[in-house]
Symmetry: C3
Subunit: 469 residues, 3 copies
């Protein structure tokens, strides 16, 4: 039975000189607190602090990295406990776990394997690798520990040395869990982030109804464009009072538009009526990004733009299981023309920060680094989603650094709802950054003293500064 | 005179720890039989087993990797023995060989150099590197050996330890050589593959005539759309009886389309009449890919899609020398939108396999790995054509593995008509895969035991399974 | 205070075996003369040989790599001494220098850091790294040395072992400095290059006036299309008499077009009248590239094509400070379709050379290497602008070599107006090429003897041959 051991040199380059430098750099950032400025954990976990239910529900069923891979090899999502749209699941958690364990080899060479092994070893103290043979042992050990107080969300939060974590909510969310957390004496920092796609994007399911609800919540007449803007401003303030320091925008493209008032009003009316063409919806979304930037100038929220995913590519899966089921596929994404309306208006504002993400790695060296290496408002977010991985991080640093430097980047985002693996993800990023810096030092392209400073900044200071935490 | 020596560590990473791991992995896959599920060897070689004619005709003139490079440096194709369209060549084979030898330095750093050196050393036992000085010696040695029985196609096939090789034929091919091979007592597995571009693509030279001939061969009325479909079904069966387990599709793009019956019939009529616009031809080809997928559900042929080459880019060369003369240039290729019609209809079918190839490396991490890491029908073919090279293979594994894993890939294709170099190509792929795995092991991202299993699967099992051999 | 030391192994791979090979290769190319066939130094420096004014004016204010990075972090360009459009600057050079020094960490991991450190150490003999603390010391040392004869342009040119340097001028330039240099007894080779964008591109500021001036200078009636062509031919001859061996073309895209005479005349008339649509301007520029190729067949000038920059992306910066202020952003660039009109007409001409550059690295393996590995007229220029960097060079060799080889590339261009750093840039390129070759040797993909030859060719022979120097 192969031992589960996390080698202390994991993820560092193999060359001994480079590895030694990486070890020295890592030793000084390993234990820094976790800043998690963008992610998708459930605030109710921290507000209510209830025990997690069972290994499959915690580690398999909600993790689209995991079930997409299993699905790609012909395993039915029903058998993995993924609930049907508007329905539930009848899958037995232990059976789900066994399927995962039998197929753990599918994750060879993927970050999921690295994250999961970390959780099994560091959190649950398991000492053999996961396999068909060890499946039940794993299940039993994890299931039992989840009932212990030391494995409740707050205990793990503290054990994980998380200084601040941001969740993501849409404007219609009442933020009750955040309110409860603020009222509570726990004292740990769990903040929200403002994700208004469902009231900015005419193509979003239920857009008009969402805008109406936004009006009801805020007391503004949102069928009127000015009322709609006022409601958004009001809601941003509400989010700020619940800790938000950033907004987040997940549009299909990076398109921005700077419409006249009359054009914006006309499009908004069409959007509410459900009459927008695809192009008009794109224009309206793009215009609203410029409006968001304008509001950010007033209220100080940092903008995050996460474009370029073709959501719900698999029609059958969407119909049967709903959104976020591993069928979102990246697309080629333009930034140079797309962002120009936003940048022409606000690109030189010293008080605005816009953090750009991408699923299209070709833009790192061609578009994003040149843009961020010029415009004062722009910063580059870390490698995102499919690229939140060792090779993805290496490519990002190799392709962005020479033009944008380190100081136009913002440290790491874990971007995850997989709470248990958050330290694994930050640890992976720290190791990869130290490995990259070590190569620069070994090749005499950087002084080791400078690399120590940069490692600390990438791990802690840049995220704190960029997100205004 | 520099020695020709194939170092036992060639193509492995230089770092000693990583290299040692690579050596251990390679030692266990080096001697596995060759599975060659996609290529372009001439079945008559194996059916007739005649001696190859001379060194230039065997190794230079038919190899577009070779003559395109020489042509790029101003050497006339006539002088390389490339025959004129509908004509022959008056080039003297020894003179052709000398030109190649004098210019062998042009291939420094290219896979052609690696493949050729392997052939010279391993097959012909040459001990000095090829150069102007050794040109005649090479010519004489190779020319003499080609007349020996041990250098006839079947002897080399056996010496090369080929378990199965697929050739590629179009639907109008009578498959006489395959029939002869089946009737023959040789017992080695030479199978065909169904490549119907010339009867699916309205832009293919002679499309209407080809469809008419298809009707004559099969006895169906192919001027009628239903008869055309029936003829294709019939011909696929005929190919299956000659060993085919796959179809292969080399369209300009990856576009697919799912037309209504009436739309398909109308376009088919226009195509036969030669009246299709460029867009209509694209739509018809795309529709026929969906039809091919439907037929595959019935007959089990694995689909291969090889899109994205701008064929015959050099008009003068095409006019003078015809197709496949080194003037095919890759183009930017979209898969996310292009494949959606096919995937919406058949993407979740457990019994269908579609293997995707690309000439546009930007899609590995952005499109292909995310698609293959989700859809059950999709698998990723190996790096193709210009990317069938050490760096190309490294990029493929680095960019595809973290999202698609190893088990959504299908092992290696040599894709070549250069029969003599087939083991060199497989050996190169095995070495590069072992080197990649070795890096993962050296960086503690993978256990060495797991890497041994993956190396075996990449070398042998995955190709056999994916191609249903 | 950290020491400023240029390690003798800088930029070489860390693996000891590979590094030793790189050292051996580099030892034989380190001292070869500099061939600088494409750049932007000011010919008046060499013609007049006046002392450079001060450290900031020489090293900071004119270097858009430097001030774009500082600007991206919120530092005002006014404070960096960048002159306002049509105005001057009131910034104090020592203050500018201090700002740069305080922010030198922004350049960690960038080529600017490597180039600047080389200049400080090798040219000015500084022994501590630049920082807020050493800013004034640096300023004083450099400022004093610039007044010494040994730091005048001609002395540095000789000390730098420059065999030939090309500047870049537009057709309206009288080339007085080159004339003075030719008449002068200095005897060093400073040549011009013909950069006609301002009279070929209808969208260029002042196009019609420029064409009129071209007529006045040459004595041709340039309001007439034939007169315009004749004037261009005449001016190319004038440039040739001042040493030019190449033309250079910096269009927004790589589009070429092969219009009929009547179409060309009609578009030219519209262009002069300022009536071209964006598409018509694109077509006219593209047509003129084909005309330039035709003229090159007659006069032998090598064509350079530098496409794909979105110039002046930041409207505010353009309005306030003018062109070339760090706000040019690369765009996705197509070559396969774009170059086809040019290549269909002249792609097989043995006497023509067209050197292609790109800001879109995705085309190296997909488009440029396949094109250059086939067409006799095409060669690949070195990594350009943002990609003139260690990682950029590595990617270029890794992605282009396997298909185009080394011999369809043309050595290094420094492409700079930062005269003092020219040897640093060539040294960086030599080291990176040697490191790449060393890896091929260490992995037994190339013989070390061959690598020595290639290193020499990449450093010296290929540039001389391709640019006909």
């Amino acid at each position: 039975m192969p031992k589960l051991e996390l080698n202390e040199n994991r993820l560092f380059p193999a060359d001994p000189t480079t590895r030694d430098i990486a070890r020295r750099l890592y030793a000084e950032v390993r234990d820094l607190p976790i800043i998690s400025p963008h992610g998708h954990t459930d605030p109710s976990w921290f507000a209510d602090n209830e025990a997690f239910s069972n290994p499959a529900d915690l580690l398999i069923t909600p993790d689209h990295y995991v079930f997409r891979m299993l699905y790609s090899q012909g395993i039915r999502m029903e058998d993995l406990g993924v609930p049907l749209s508007g329905g539930g699941t009848s899958a037995n958690p232990r059976e789900v776990w066994r399927i995962f364990a039998q197929n753990y080899h599918l994750f060879d060479g993927t970050p999921s394997r690295i994250w999961h092994d970390w959780v099994y070893s560091k959190v649950f103290g398991l000492e053999e690798t996961l396999s068909a043979e060890t499946a039940d042992h794993y299940y039993d050990v994890i299931d039992a520990k989840l009932q212990e107080d030391a494995y409740r969300p707050r205990a793990l939060f503290e054990r994980y040395n998380i200084e601040v974590i941001a969740t993501t909510e849409d404007p219609l969310d009442p933020l009750d869990h955040h309110a409860k957390l603020q009222a509570d004496g726990w004292g740990k920092k769990v903040i929200t982030a403002f994700r208004p796609d469902n009231v900015l994007d005419p193509d979003y399911e239920g857009f008009a109804a969402n805008v109406r609800t936004l009006g009801e919540i805020t007391g503004f007449e949102t069928t009127d464009y000015q009322g709609y803007l006022d409601a958004l401003i009001d809601r941003r303030e509400y989010f700020k009072r619940h800790g938000a320091t950033s907004s987040d925008h997940g549009h299909p493209t990076a398109a921005t538009a700077d419409l006249s008032r009359a054009e914006a009003e006309a499009l908004f009316a069409k959007a509410l009526a459900g009459d927008c063409s695809a192009q008009e919806a794109e224009t309206f979304r793009g215009h609203m990004l410029v409006e968001m930037a304008r509001m950010s100038l007033d209220d100080g929220l940092v903008m995050q733009i996460h474009p370029g995913s073709h959501r719900n590519h698999n029609a059958m899966v969407f119909e049967r299981f709903g959104r976020d089921k591993g069928a979102d596929i990246p697309t080629r994404t333009d930034y140079v023309d797309a962002l120009r309306p936003l940048l022409s208006r606000y690109g030189n504002e010293p008080s605005l920060t816009v953090i750009l993400f991408t699923l299209d790695e070709t833009v790192y060296s061609r578009e994003l680094a040149p843009l961020a290496g010029h415009y004062p408002v722009l910063k580059l977010g870390p490698p995102w989603w499919f690229h939140d991985s060792p090779e993805g991080m290496r490519r990002f640093r190799e392709q962005a650094t020479e033009t944008a430097g380190f100081y136009n980047t913002v440290g790491f985002n874990d971007d995850t709802r997989a709470f248990l693996s958050i330290p694994a993800r930050h640890d992976l990023a720290r190791r990869m950054d130290c490995g990259f810096l070590a190569r620069l030092v070994a090749e005499h392209r950087m002084l080791e003293d400078d690399a120590h400073r940069v490692a600390q900044d990438l791990t802690y200071n840049l995220a704190k500064a960029a997100y205004r935490l």
